[in-house]
């Protein structure tokens, strides 16, 4: 608990120092929420222990939803509005997000699954965590596919968050199958993976290292180049057809 609190304090210090939080508002808001959540939980644990479980699960459920802010931050940093790829991927990204949330929530929050653990939090954690991990992986894969340079800040935030989300998904699903036998491990795995994520985030944002902005190349004539590419592509396809069906 104390290591987590110490890491959160260091994380906030690094975000505030040099005004890094201004560059990553979504991420900073999430970190701010986590810190406030833990302070509130600590106070509740000391002053009103009977209310602590309700506070824990409710604030945890809100946190699971707020994790989408980290996904959004990674997306907007890798595909900023100035990037020519932004127009291409933004609509698809929104569509994929909505579809994934709907499908995974429908499938994984089904009555028979939910009724076993009787925990809305666990159902949310595994379904939303899965969507978040998939989205982060898709963004990183797209960045690699288009050779977009990803700075240390966003790379560290994304990879640590992805690892945490995927572990959290597996752990929340395991608990539904193994029930009480998995609780001792879950009690260790969940905080340790969170602490590891905090540690990686501190490393990532220790100094401001933004992504290089990919801007449209002025020397490229989009209409002409696309036309030439389409001509060549058409020729290649028709040649391939001729080879296959002479």
């Amino acid at each position: 608990m104390y290591s987590g609190a110490a890491l959160e304090a260091v994380l906030v210090w690094r975000l505030v120092k040099g005004g890094i939080y201004r560059h990553y508002p979504g991420f900073s808001f999430f970190v701010g929420y986590v810190v406030c959540q833990n302070v509130a939980l600590f106070v509740s644990y000391r002053l009103a222990p009977t209310d602590y479980p309700a506070w824990y699960w409710n604030s945890g459920a809100v946190q699971v939803c707020l994790r989408f802010l980290v996904v959004w931050e990674v997306f907007r940093q890798i595909f900023p509005k100035t990037s020519p790829l932004h127009r291409m991927v933004s609509k698809q990204a929104a569509l994929v997000t909505i579809t994934l949330i709907s499908v995974s929530t429908g499938m994984l929050w089904a009555v028979q699954n939910y009724s076993k653990s009787h925990s809305v939090y666990l159902a949310m954690d595994r379904s939303f965590g899965f969507v978040q991990a998939v989205l982060i992986l898709a963004i990183l894969t797209l960045a690699r596919y288009y050779h977009l340079p990803v700075g240390r800040n966003i790379w560290g935030i994304a990879v640590a968050f992805g690892m945490y989300s995927s572990l959290s998904t597996a752990a929340s699903a395991l608990i539904d199958i193994m029930r009480t036998s998995f609780f001792p491990y879950w009690h260790l795995l969940s905080p340790f993976s969170f602490v590891a994520m905090l540690g990686m985030w501190i490393w990532a944002i220790w100094s401001y290292a933004p992504n290089q902005v990919a801007t449209a190349n002025e020397s490229i004539d989009p209409a002409g180049d696309v036309g030439r590419w389409a001509d060549n592509w058409g020729r290649a396809v028709s040649t391939a057809r001729k080879v296959l069906h002479p």
């Binding site: 595994r126 991990a133 960045a143 992805g162 690892m163 995927s166 998904t169």
Partner: protein, 190 residues
């Protein structure tokens, strides 16, 4: 229940995917195109500049000739000629690797900043490319030019990777210093 099992599996698969990305580390920024061109201008890369590699290794014409009984002898001559050309191309690629490796050491010696990790990476790339090209030479000598045409294309990619890493080091220098570097390099080569 199946859905839950699937989710456990997917969670573990995703975790390992992220772990792999984490081990690979952040992507190094690609060097500027002008830096790549400058390296190719300063260092004469005969093997890399040869654009006919894929055609050289394409066995289609050889198979076409061999399919006709009267042209079998022509096919054998064609194969021998292709083998000699492929061996020459591999030698040129080996030369390119050595030249790029020397050029990189020359840049670092002349004060361009590079980390130990980068130097180890270039050393590993150079050793891998040399070993791979030497192995390829033996394969072409033994089994002919069309035996491992895909692998020969990979050889070119390995040399290109070395060229890019030299370009990324050159890119750290101010552009007005490039002609000076080129002069010093040419002097050293001569």
């Amino acid at each position: 229940m199946i859905q839950i099992f699937g989710l456990i599996l997917l969670g573990i698969v995703l975790f390992f995917a992220f772990l792999k990305i984490a081990i690979q580390g952040p992507s190094a920024s690609a060097p500027d195109t002008s830096a790549i061109q400058a390296v190719q201008q300063m260092v004469h890369l005969d093997g890399l500049s040869f654009a006919g590699g894929p055609r050289l290794l394409d066995p289609a014409e050889f198979h076409m000739l061999r399919a006709t009984a009267e042209l079998r002898e022509v096919a054998a001559v064609y194969r021998r000629e292709r083998q000699a050309l492929t061996l020459l191309w591999i030698s040129l690629l080996l030369n390119d690797v050595n030249t790029l490796w020397r050029f990189r050491r020359f840049l670092v010696r002349n004060g361009v900043q590079a980390t130990v990790g980068e130097e180890m990476q270039i050393l590993s790339d150079a050793v891998q490319a040399t070993l791979f090209l030497s192995f390829l030479r033996i394969v072409v000598l033994t089994f002919g030019p069309f035996a491992l045409s895909g692998a020969a294309r990979n050889a070119r990619q390995m040399v290109e990777r070395m060229s890019r890493s030299s370009a990324s080091v050159l890119d750290r220098l101010p552009r007005h210093g490039w002609p000076e570097i080129e002069r010093a390099w040419q002097k050293g080569v001569a």
